[in-house]
Symmetry: D2
Amino acid sequence: MTSPTATLLIACPDRKGLVALLANFIASHNGNIIHADHHTDFTAGLFLSRLEWQLDGFDLTTEQITPAFSEIAKDLEANWQLHFSQKNRRLALWVSRQDHCLLDLIWRQRAQEIKGEIPLIISNHQNLKPIAEQYGIDFEYIPITKDNKAIQEAQQLEIIKKYNIDLVVLAKYMQILSQDFIRKFPNVINIHHSFLPAFVGANPYERAYERGVKIIGATAHYVTPDLDAGPIIEQDVVRVSHRDEVSDLVRKGKDLERVVLARAVRYHLQNRVLVYGNRTVVFA
Amino acid sequence: MTSPTATLLIACPDRKGLVALLANFIASHNGNIIHADHHTDFTAGLFLSRLEWQLDGFDLTTEQITPAFSEIAKDLEANWQLHFSQKNRRLALWVSRQDHCLLDLIWRQRAQEIKGEIPLIISNHQNLKPIAEQYGIDFEYIPITKDNKAIQEAQQLEIIKKYNIDLVVLAKYMQILSQDFIRKFPNVINIHHSFLPAFVGANPYERAYERGVKIIGATAHYVTPDLDAGPIIEQDVVRVSHRDEVSDLVRKGKDLERVVLARAVRYHLQNRVLVYGNRTVVFA
Amino acid sequence: MTSPTATLLIACPDRKGLVALLANFIASHNGNIIHADHHTDFTAGLFLSRLEWQLDGFDLTTEQITPAFSEIAKDLEANWQLHFSQKNRRLALWVSRQDHCLLDLIWRQRAQEIKGEIPLIISNHQNLKPIAEQYGIDFEYIPITKDNKAIQEAQQLEIIKKYNIDLVVLAKYMQILSQDFIRKFPNVINIHHSFLPAFVGANPYERAYERGVKIIGATAHYVTPDLDAGPIIEQDVVRVSHRDEVSDLVRKGKDLERVVLARAVRYHLQNRVLVYGNRTVVFA
Amino acid sequence: MTSPTATLLIACPDRKGLVALLANFIASHNGNIIHADHHTDFTAGLFLSRLEWQLDGFDLTTEQITPAFSEIAKDLEANWQLHFSQKNRRLALWVSRQDHCLLDLIWRQRAQEIKGEIPLIISNHQNLKPIAEQYGIDFEYIPITKDNKAIQEAQQLEIIKKYNIDLVVLAKYMQILSQDFIRKFPNVINIHHSFLPAFVGANPYERAYERGVKIIGATAHYVTPDLDAGPIIEQDVVRVSHRDEVSDLVRKGKDLERVVLARAVRYHLQNRVLVYGNRTVVFA
């Protein structure tokens, strides 16, 4: 699979012949499909598909593929994206004070588990700057207060644009992004702890402890204006017991958060995640 | 371990010498401890302990143990319970229309995984009566409506008393018990599905599907007047994906519910669960 | 999805245009695909696919589909199977003395979690006969000894044929089937406990206890002449601790076995399992 | 719990009065127990216990505790250890070429999840030396060949002694230690992948892939002369599917290995692990 590939993610109203239609588009241009996964959501009446094919021997250039396919897509009333493996994605990692997710993502990028570059770290605190320097990553310190939030978000958007960022990963960035920000830059993945039951509001770990939960979880999701309510990409849990104090819950939560966030970022960068409504299909 | 045993569950303010004090009480009467587990909740400043010892060779009769220990407990300002393995516990299974938890508990009781008798099934519907008959268990049909709830609960309490019931298991009994009922009969275990995040209100599975959760869970807990908010005994989860339709979530949830409920009932009947505040210590 | 469906499971050498080829076969006959999942095993150079489409409106009868598709398949050097949802599958459950998997499968079939009929239970012991009678299932008692094994297997094959059985489920049938038997009737699913590390030979639970394992597992697989070494359909695990005695490992193992076996049988009956080499693709 | 503590780990033949005996030793010297957990292995007829108490106010010095307790222990035919929280443990991390466990342990030590110092990294390869330098940890390069193994092990033992090492962690050190080495320095923890079933010998991931396993695991254990067969401290698993290629199994295995190894090292450093026979009690 050394050949570069194109990946199509598409969602459209279900009807007969869709798999054939898409596969024929690729086959008719001499493309070799290396991954094809389709799903029908009968509740929503939607057909959802991921097709990845090799570009070696494909008789359309990357420039020609998009216009060629948009002809087909128009007729399908489809939401669709085309991604090309040659394009290197650029990530910005946003952090506050905690380093566990930051270090984990940097390590995985270095280990090539996560494809893409990490040219930028943004934080509302200074304390993780040494990590940025250690790995030769630019570090932008942007303190946030109630009063300056709007101005700071404008500055953040500017920096994102300047660095040509494709994906913002909130790697324990403990700030809420405004609706306006998300509308202007929607590619944002967040990680947060999850509990059964959920504990909304402050000190969730203390309250999970008081409630004596036996399981804690972590959820990675796309950010929507409604905090912690965006389409879920990945979740996982770990067992806890009465012997775990609040600090143990926090420690176990951190382990989960870094694994779950890394999986979600990886799925996204592999173009395996298709969002529709408030849910995702992860073609894992 | 064929000898009958006594089990002490105790919670009291922490102080020096408690383990020695309790162990000496048993040793001084020639008791052989077969299980001893202690826990200190430093947040609450509480010492919590479970001690189980063999009664063969113990020089106090079961009648003498309680008064003898209450002398010690008084000084400790302790909440405590004493249980004797000879005493056969009597369970009432409360159901509505679903049979998965009911059949599972009956099977485990027959397989002696769950110690105790099941002399009674109570339901607000008739459709599970054949199962009761098949296994020779009395079946009390008590339909519930908004208007007759108080009267029916009075009747239920009477039946529980008549059958000398020790534990009520809500094996998918889709009715809320009143504060008054719980105050009069607090030994009630319930099972319900859990989600990350939680979905309060109607049709949780539909909403979990719409939300695209990747994990669903089940929680077994003691019932308190605040529905679904009592001390948690056991929880577990199962992974789901976009390929799981609502009916699949329901099916997977059922599998979880019966396993999690069975574990919780088993822990309770083994006197492994100590409740304090709104949480439990499960000396598993 | 009330329409009856056809399901194609196919494995063939990978080459360009396969997805299009298969999808076109269905589309050209006016079929509506409701599930399409493809996988390429680059190590083996194989294309593997599951396609399910509705037969309402499909312009080939079930009798015509097989010959029509075999034309295409020949050219692909494909291994393939066609299944029709109208055909009711018939299961034979084989047991020895343990009832946990047997009761679980019967309950799921009654709950329609598992599609198909269970007309027959075969056992080398008598003790589970009452369960068969209770559920109105024929019970064939076929005691096995070293000496009569060949004769008994012949008898078993006869009964399988007589009852027109499609799938044999070894629901804790503690006997090894001969190569000859498997060659004559290959559709056999088995469940067995699994450990990390594995404990080959007698008393695995005792030895897992002595080894102090922290996890025990269960594996459901197709039976091959090489015992416990056939293609794996499903696996799962449960945590154990030093507090679990051998009897607890056995109990927890039983819970796993029934869930894992039920999942495997369900996948098989939904035609989601494609075997190639000694491994499976489960199009779950 | 800012007070320094003493921790007793003890295993001895079971008999009446042991809990009282141990608790009285601590209480009689005015010690405050903050963790007490006992376990009886009825199969082995052994009593196993962990007791941790605060040294503030305890009327024996750390120098006096050991001789004082050995008087008691003699009579019990006990195997026992005493650990003092003030004593800082010193770890040597042994690696080959892979860095995932190394970086993880260093990060956790920096985050104080793991108590102790890491003054030394030993490797039979040079490529991880930059990590050692980056974190200011001494790096000893000791290439191993069949011929020089004995000499090199002698050198390793010398270095361990020179650095006053308490625990050797084989953080993916792909070399087998000799019986002689283990006899001279038994405190060695190893991590390795585990499978259901197990794959002994070369290329286990390739073979797990060929076998189509649905779960892969990792096991952390104390090293014994019998490779990969020492007392198990911790295990965990992760699900895999047909979509996971060998490289995915390796990647998922790495994630497991670092989490499982970290838990095991943490338990050991908290003196929660008691070895007897070929199994452990983890007083978690």
